[in-house]
């Protein structure tokens, strides 16, 4: 019974195993990025960037059909153009970075949907918007795993300036010039992980596996190391449980994964040990000293 529910789907079907491996790889790379986005109050930036990837992937699709590398490459380029373009415009005009990013991603989204619709079918459009986690071939898995590995490595390399730029940017500026390059590397990581997530979850939900685990982790850990561990753990659990739920209830898998993460979020808001609602509501005697 337990075996049938929790293990059999993966033991019996190769596409389920692949989906599981893919979501675990995503769960290693994206959530730490999400934690930093959240701590820098850039939670919605991930969403905007995810939309910005669309036209690049769509142009890749137009040129080479459903080719993995054309679409991933196109997405990567489009994402980087938007990230750097928005940064550049905000620095050279009076528009703040979030405003120029909003302009960029809306244009990108409209452009991307237009390109896909002109060239492909509604099925293609659905693939773009929601991904196809149950149809991942070897190259796709390699791409996602590669992105996860690179982003963990780069994160380790830029860890100090990244943390310092969040806590005390003035101090970082006074001791080092590493802040700017670290910020750009970080934006590149955001784009890369969204491109990876895009393959599995589509442009609309890729950001879900990045941000939801990050927000969840805030309710369970007090320091950043613990938060990143919690975020990775909850993303992996969401991936596994989401696939199971979608298998047994015959629901779409991508949204299933994100919905499980959503459920974990709801539980965390209510019961999370760090600032969860029930702990705030329960009257606790204060300490002596």
């Amino acid at each position: 019974m337990l075996y049938d529910t929790f293990i059999a789907p993966f033991a019996e079907f190769e596409f389920m195993r692949r989906a599981l491996v893919g979501t675990f790889a995503l769960a290693l790379g994206a959530p730490p990025i999400g934690v930093f986005l959240m701590l820098r109050r850039m939670s919605l930036i991930g969403d905007a960037m995810a939309h910005a990837i669309l036209p690049g992937a769509a142009i890749g699709f137009m040129v080479a059909g459903l080719s993995l590398f054309a679409m991933a490459g196109g997405g990567l380029i489009a994402g980087l153009i938007v990230a750097l373009g928005a940064g550049l415009i905000s620095r050279s005009t009076r528009i703040k970075e979030d405003a120029s990013l909003a302009a960029f991603f809306l244009i990108s989204l409209a452009l991307g949907v237009t390109i896909v619709s002109v060239k492909g079918s509604n099925v293609d459009l659905l693939h773009f918007l929601f991904g196809s986690v149950l149809a991942m071939d070897d190259p796709t898995l390699m791409l996602i795993a590669g992105i996860a590995s690179v982003s963990l490595l780069v994160l380790a390399l830029i860890w100090r300036p990244l943390v310092l730029e969040c806590v005390d940017p003035g101090f970082l500026r006074s001791v080092s010039r590493a802040g700017g390059p670290a910020h750009i590397a970080f934006l590149a990581l955001v784009v890369m992980n969204l491109v990876g997530g895009f393959q599995a979850l589509g442009t609309l939900l890729a950001v879900g596996i990045m941000m939801l685990p990050a927000v969840i982790s805030r309710f369970w850990a007090r320091d950043i190391t613990g938060m990143i561990g919690m975020a990775i753990g909850s993303a992996a659990v969401s991936g596994y449980a989401g696939l199971l739920v979608s298998y047994h209830l015959n629901l779409p898998s991508g949204p299933g994964i994100i919905l499980v993460a959503g459920a974990l979020y709801a539980v965390s808001v209510v019961a999370g040990p760090v600032g969860g609602l029930i702990w705030l509501a329960l009257p606790q005697r204060h300490l002596e000293a």
């Binding site: 701590l39 100090r160 806590v167 005390d168 003035g170 006074s174 080092s176 950043i224």
Partner: protein
Amino acid sequence: MTEQLKFRNLTLGYDRHPAVHHLDGAVRKGSLTAVIGPNGAGKSTLFKGVVGAIKPLAGRIERNGVRPQDIAYLPQVAEIDRSFPIGVYDMVAMGLWRGKGLFGGIGRRDRDTVEGALAAVGLTGFEQRPIGTLSGGQMQRMLFARLLLQDARVIVLDEPFNAIDTKTCADLLLLVRRWHSEQRTVLAAMHDMELVKANFPESLLLAREPVAWGATADVLTPENMLKARRMCEAFDEQAQACVVAA
């Protein structure tokens, strides 16, 4: 070579308006100088110039072999995100940046150094406390511990004792005197004239233009203070280009 910082006809400011106007003079190596003057006199602006955060509108600053990033700087309003989940220990350890850089490991001896700095500011036992739970005075103590670890030849403190109680102030002043005895060059923006008289051998009185600079007793005269107070704070939007010879 006894001069650590030299200002040559230095003008610093914002949008072409001077906030420090035609400052000439030198800060001796190992000296302890209070920079005083009313709000808007240009104290913070001068410090930002010294640490290289803003470029001079005219003139220059000679630092005599010290790079701007080797100057330890305590800003008046630190841009610290106090909600960030980081503890006092890690925050203080960042003072080791110059020796460790991006990748250098923190070894046994470094940990002792960090503990020593925490003890010197009276924050032993606070290692794991998130910075968001610190009081204003504890925060300032933590930042002083970080300054200690920076081990800099030149230390610039922008109003370090504002909104700080007497006890904390006295503790931190001990550190300032220790730096002085170690022949480090210290500049501090100050508002409490009693503290200045008691602790700072030299003073620079600014009111956009330098009013007086020298031994504290000679600078803090009633005439000088009156002169400084007459300074007009607002920028003149119709101001013409300055014609004083550069």
